[in-house]
Amino acid sequence: METKAKNPIKDPQSGGPALAAKAATPAAAVAGVPDQTVIQAIARERSALPDEARQFLGAHLLANRSRALNEQCFTQVHTFKPLTLTFSAVRANSKAFLTLRPDEAAIWSDGGKGNRLVGLSVSSRLDPVLYVSNFLINAREMYLQTYQDAQEIQIDLYVRTLQRGIRGNVDLPPGASVTLRSTNDRSTVIGVSSFAIELGEH
């Protein structure tokens, strides 16, 4: 009883910190800090597993080997080398794939920061619209899916790398081809192929 009576008198004296501390405790409890009982339940499940299963619990960390390399390119490399990819004669209802090899220290990029007007573009100069039902470009892969015969689909982008050249793979439908053009090199491939292209210094 005495302590309760004292508290209201103390509070105004000690001021902000006491109030702030009081408010912070329930907020932290509500805002998703995992409950100890959940953590304990997970630990119990883990200890109930057979030895062999427990040994390979962290195996998924090896699954995406490009992840660290992508992150490294994104934060540490500040050299951007322009590249133009031209997909030609991609027939209707087919899919064209193009990827950088997972061990290349290079990622696709929009060119990073700076006062540029040219970034990453996807366009067609020959067809009235891009005959694609969907497309996707991430740090290493790209695909295009057509719904009608496409004469040309051109992708202009940058390669974020310090390497002098890059290697990758394509998977194209029959009849289609892709031409890669950098500042000083050109390569055209068809079908399921690999490619290598010089990017030059700078």
Binding site: G32, G111, K113, R116, G119, L130, S133, L136
Partner: protein, 307 residues
């Protein structure tokens, strides 16, 4: 790299250096945050130029830094994307500008504004930037619904645009899925789980005390075709409306379709993947997308989704 100095006093000499150098210094000094962005365009006119320009320093469009199952820069890939013919002739983004040139599509020679599509890309912001301003040029009927990370979507129309940004919470992800091919009276369960011994995962309404979007159910044929829906920690259950005799004769072959947006939350924080499983008839297809990863069909067995 050796000549670069993190000291603030070096700013002025750096600015007067060659343009190529300036670009290097900019990127090297500032830690950036990448926020996934989804833009849902509707009522876009043919034969026009659309553009979005940011005027907030430190905010820029980006391709992102992830490969593999990351969605990156994409067009009509998400589960709720409109399908059909494209209206885009060219699309380009650089630092602060996103430009789309629409072409003349076959069915809209009258110039009607009826095109719809979905784009995804990333927003790169300097640490500490918590809002975004800019302007966009669109036809007057056009509406763009823009979702930043796990926040409630904002509406952008022709004119000034803005958005409030919050740092993403580490152990919540938005998840959206579309159920297709369901028949009247079907029962569909979507179960979320994690590998035993690695962690626990639950359905959620989104982070507490934030601008989260909660759980949203959308009927894609006008009405939501359900008699019941229930959410427990790990199981979402839907029961579709039983066929009505009067309607059954008119559309006996018709299938039902609906979509849902919700969240998942997990412990411990460093869990990297979860499983989704659909318990339903095998001609029902469930296409799910977790945050900014590529959508995947959920099987009747555990299907891996990275976080």
């Amino acid at each position: 790299m050796t000549t670069e100095s993190p000291l603030a006093g070096d700013r002025a000499p750096q600015a007067s250096a060659a343009p190529a150098r300036e670009q290097q210094d900019d990127g090297a000094q500032e830690p950036v945050t990448l926020i996934p962005v989804t833009l849902q365009f509707s009522r876009i006119a043919s034969n026009s130029n659309l553009s979005f320009t940011f005027t907030t320093a430190g905010a820029a469009w980006s391709l992102g830094a992830k490969s593999g199952d990351s969605i990156g820069f994409s067009y009509n890939v998400t589960p709720v994307s409109a399908s059909g013919q494209s209206c885009i002739q060219a699309i380009e983004f650089n630092n602060e500008v996103l430009t789309i040139r629409t072409g003349a599509t076959a069915q809209s020679s009258s110039g009607q504004a009826d095109n719809a599509f979905t784009l995804t890309l990333f927003l790169q912001v300097r640490e500490g930037v918590d809002y975004l301003q800019g302007y966009c040029t669109l036809n007057t009927e056009a509406v763009v619904l823009v979702t930043f990370g796990a926040l409630v979507p904002v509406h952008w129309r022709n004119g000034r645009i803005s958005a409030v940004l919050f740092a993403p919470r580490s152990n919540y992800r938005p998840i959206s899925f579309t159920v297709q091919g369901a028949r009247p009276g079907n029962r569909i369960e979507v179960v979320v789980s994690a590998k035993k011994g690695l962690g626990k995962v639950n359905w959620s309404m989104g982070p507490d005390f934030s601008e989260s979007n909660g759980i949203e159910l959308v009927g894609q044929q006008g009405l939501v075709p359900l008699t019941s829906m229930s959410v427990t920690d790990t199981v979402l259950t839907f029961v579709t409306t039983p066929s009505d005799d009067a309607n059954a004769s008119s559309n006996s072959g018709a299938t039902l379709q609906f979509s849902m947006n919700a969240y998942i939350t997990w412990a411990p924080d460093d869990l990297t993947y979860v499983y989704l499983r659909a318990n339903c008839n095998s001609d029902v297809s469930v296409l799910a997308q977790v945050s900014n990863r590529q959508p995947q069909t959920v099987s009747q067995a555990d299907t891996v989704f990275t976080l």
